[in-house]
């Protein structure tokens, strides 16, 4: 690579990255199109089946330091909802005639904020007095937390826990015991004493045992059940333990996930040993939690993405009218597609139909779903190729023939739209911008290659084209990529720099290696006559020997 190429590349990348990092670090523009505050839309949906009067209880989240719950809505057919307080938490009780099946949906939005960093464990002296309410509620032995049981007492002696004036030490010792000496087995015992006896337990068993041990060591402790919220995934049920220390609750994971700082994706639902949902004279079925990270509306996002700096604010694309923004969003994704094309072409060496056709296809697939889009493509191209075959017999001139094909392709798309409508997938074709002309050229090229170089070659190239289209599809589908390219158009400079580097790459392509593999294999295996002659032997001797013996 010549120095001029290297410098051109470096300058582009550097300028692009400098602008980008200034906007991210200096102006604090958001890297992802989601709310940095982390607002989640959470929904609990379940069916209740009962025989008569009864109730269904479900743990509801409540406001606390690290979570704010708002916009609660509940719907149920014919049941009345009352909310009871249970310690720091709340329980929703749906009651009424539960005969038959009732559907309950409860949804809310929650903003999860990080509780001020990690709480350091206090050293003495610290708040020695524990309020009586806390002691009464969270230090007494219960059936679930048998803190007074003999094996528990024995274990405390055996562990040689630090004296009562060092609660931090006690906590550490007990958590270390649970974490390292009790195995986590997902279907292990859920009972505290069983868990202690077998030295293994489910996360539920381990957290129960931890609460039991803490209470036995005179530390008020409680069990928390919550949800781990994750994008595009059903939330997982998570249990952890909170222990009262230095005048506040200190969260600890029984499986070693965290100690002191509750992760930001945890939503607490219930404080106490009970289940999240409990039926009285009724059974809950189809219980499902679902969570969705809330995206910002265009206006909210625009407010966030237009910086205070007047120069950069005037350069922000978010100031443009919305239709222009929509067009530019697609346009700014194209450099990424072009980058993918360049990579495929110059590092891999795949032959496709047309240079940019694959990314146009990838872009078109974005409008449909991947599988449906590919199926549609296959149908259109197949019909097109068959028509092309038929046209061959008519000997039409090129441009009218192409135009005829164009009409066939359009009729195919119209027909598919009708079929799609018949199957009730109305949205499927909404806004399809399948580049019809591109499809027509694809049909023509496919037919030509098929005639000239055989079906195999045409099919191979078709597969390559689709492979590149499918590979670029996630790029086009990604809202993050779209947000990045639209919010930070200077990234196009980075892409340009990378393109310069790819353009200056004079090494082999993957397909070169395949093509010349014969040369790359070790020379002994090549049945070569001429190369193996000693340097001194004359050419005449070579000719004679080759035609004579043919060694």
């Amino acid at each position: 690579m010549s120095p001029a190429v290297v410098w051109t590349g470096i300058i582009h990348v550097a300028v692009g990255l400098a602008l980008f990092s200034y906007k991210v670090l200096g102006l604090e523009l958001a890297l992802v199109p989601t709310n940095p505050e982390g607002v989640w839309q959470v929904e609990l949906a379940l069916s209740v089946r009962g025989t008569g009067a009864g109730a269904l209880k479900a743990a509801l989240p409540s406001n606390e330091a690290s979570q704010i719950v708002f916009d609660e809505t509940a719907s149920s057919d014919g049941l009345s909802l009352s909310i009871e307080n249970e310690g720091p938490g709340r329980i929703g009780v749906w009651s009424g005639d539960l005969k038959g099946i009732h559907r309950i949906v409860y949804s809310f939005r929650a903003r999860l904020t990080e509780r001020d960093a990690e709480r350091p464990l206090p050293h003495a002296p610290f708040e020695p007095d524990v309020p009586a309410t806390v002691t009464r509620r969270y230090q007494e032995p219960t059936t679930v937390f048998p803190a007074a049981a003999r094996p528990v007492r024995e274990l405390l002696e055996e562990l040689d826990v630090p004296p009562p004036d060092d609660p931090s030490g006690r906590l550490r010792t007990l958590v270390a015991f649970i974490e390292h000496r009790v195995a986590t087995v997902s279907d292990g015992p859920a009972d505290a004493l069983l868990c202690l006896a077998e030295r293994e337990g489910s996360p539920q068993g381990k957290s129960r045992l931890l609460v039991t041990l803490l209470r036995a060591a005179d530390l008020p402790a409680r069990l928390v059940v919550g949800l781990q919220l994750e994008e595009a995934k059903t939330p997982d049920l998570v249990r952890w333990v909170e222990v009262w220390i230095d005048g506040g609750w200190f969260p600890v994971s029984p499986v070693g996930d965290f100690f002191g700082a509750r992760p930001r994706d945890l939503l607490a639902l219930r404080y106490g040993p009970g289940d999240l949902v409990d039926g009285i004279n009724a059974a809950a079925t189809d219980l499902r939690y679902s969570a969705l990270k809330e995206r910002l509306g265009p206006q909210e996002l625009a407010n966030m993405m237009i910086p205070d700096n007047t120069l950069f604010a005037s350069l922000s694309l978010y100031r443009l009218p919305l239709p222009a923004q929509r067009a530019l969003r697609v346009l700014l994704l194209l450099p990424l597609g072009a980058l993918a094309i360049a990579l495929f072409r110059n590092f891999v060496g795949l032959g496709t139909f047309g240079t940019f056709l694959p990314i146009l296809l990838g872009l078109a697939l974005r409008e449909t779903q991947l599988v449906l889009g590919l199926a549609m493509l296959a149908v259109v191209v197949l019909l097109g190729v068959v028509t092309r075959r038929f046209l061959e017999g008519l000997r039409l001139l090129l441009v009218p023939r192409l135009s005829f094909l164009l009409c066939v392709v359009i009729l195919c798309v119209v027909g598919l739209a009708l079929i799609g409508d018949g199957f009730g997938t109305r949205d499927f074709f909404a806004g399809v911008v399948f580049p019809i002309v591109v499809l027509t050229m694809l049909v023509e090229r496919f037919s030509l290659v098929m005639a000239e170089e055989g079906f195999q070659e045409a099919f191979r190239r078709w597969v390559n084209t689709l492979a590149v289209a499918v590979a670029s599809y996630p790029l086009f589908k990604s809202t993050t990529a779209e947000h990045l390219m639209f919010g930070f158009p200077e990234l196009v400079l980075v892409v340009m720099g990378l393109l310069v580097f790819i353009g200056g790459y004079s090494g082999f392509r993957l397909t070169d290696l395949v093509r010349f593999r014969l040369l790359g294999s070790s020379s002994e295996t090549i049945p070569l006559t001429s190369l193996e002659y000693p340097a001194g032997s004359s050419r005449r001797a070579l000719d004679g020997e080759v035609s004579g013996s043919g060694s």
Binding site: E453, F516, L531, V546
Partner: protein
């Protein structure tokens, strides 16, 4: 692994060819000279380089009737697009009855088929970039007697790579049954690496597999000598000289009557020639780079290549 071995051998890859050779030594403005076979032909005739005789040409659709009129008086000929690539769109007519033309590979076509083919050529169906094109009709070349037993149903040609005036590598391309008489390697023709001093066949490859015997005729290839090889190199070098291209592939056919003639020239010659010769191009190009600045006429350069050939073959 294989990457490093290919590098050691000095194999030229596509990226490197595009960056270091075609874009450096072949100015874009010279491309039309070689991309249009009619211009190549005119240029060669002007410089006294032998080419197949042009019998007819058509640039516009109204000229097609005239073209077909010429064709009617011919028994055998070749119709091809002036701007075609990779042998696409070439029809070789070997004989005819009253209504039907017979093509290579014992296919037949009617007069109407042939006229339609000419019209397709004019519409740019086979042209690079799909632009309008011209159809040309040439005399059909006759396989040299020495080639008859190793060429199946077609005319073999010799591809010579000329770099800065020096022929650096050459291969013969022999049509096979699988390539239906065409001399294109990717369609199954045999590529044979040639010794640059004598034109002796050294190694042969078909579809990436080495072979020593022509699969259709059963004739042994290795050790055979190409007829008139010196003259082949001579006209390749002369053609390169008049185009002004620094890196060029010349396709030469050894005709039974005229001897070697230039069939076409290529400004971005393919790389499979290295496979046929079992050698990379880069060491040879490097040698030429060291000596290219010394003033030598064409004869001097050809003598030089003869001396270098031993060295190259042994590499």
């Amino acid at each position: 692994m294989i990457y490093r071995r290919l590098r050691q051998m000095g194999v030229l890859g596509i990226n490197r060819r595009n960056i270091d050779l075609t874009s450096r030594h072949n100015p874009r403005r010279l491309y039309p000279l070689v991309d249009n076979k009619l211009r190549t032909k005119a240029m060669c005739i002007g410089a006294g380089i032998p080419v197949p005789r042009l019998l007819a040409k058509a640039e516009h659709h109204f000229e097609l009737e005239e073209l077909m009129g010429r064709v009617d008086g011919l028994d055998d000929f070749v119709m091809k697009p002036a701007r075609g690539a990779m042998g696409n769109g070439i029809v070789v007519i070997t004989g005819r009855t009253e209504r039907l033309f017979s093509r290579t590979g014992s296919r037949r076509m009617s007069r109407g088929d042939l006229q339609f083919h000419a019209a397709s050529i004019l519409s740019g169906l086979y042209a690079l970039g799909g632009n309008d094109d011209m159809a040309m009709v040439e005399e059909r070349l006759v396989v040299h007697p020495e080639f008859r037993s190793i060429a199946y149903d077609g005319v073999p040609d010799v591809r010579v790579i000329v770099y800065r005036g020096y022929p650096v590598m050459a291969m013969a391309r022999l049509p096979t049954k699988a390539s239906s008489g065409r001399a294109n390697l990717h369609q199954g023709a045999i590529g044979v690496g040639l010794d640059m001093a004598t034109g002796t066949m050294q190694s042969a490859v078909r579809h990436n597999a080495p072979l020593e015997i022509h699969p259709d005729t059963g004739e042994r290839l290795i050790g055979r000598r190409l007829p008139n090889f010196e003259r082949v190199l001579q006209i390749a070098v002369a053609a390169a000289e008049i185009t002004g291209l620094g890196y060029l592939g010349a396709d030469v056919v050894v005709d039974a009557r005229h001897g070697p003639v230039i069939l076409e020239l290529n400004a971005r010659p393919g790389l499979a020639i290295q496979l046929c010769n079992r050698a990379g191009l880069l060491p040879r190009l490097a040698t030429v780079d060291r000596i290219a600045d010394m003033p030598r006429d064409a004869t001097g350069r050809l003598t030089m290549v003869k001396e270098l050939a031993d060295l190259w073959t042994r590499d």
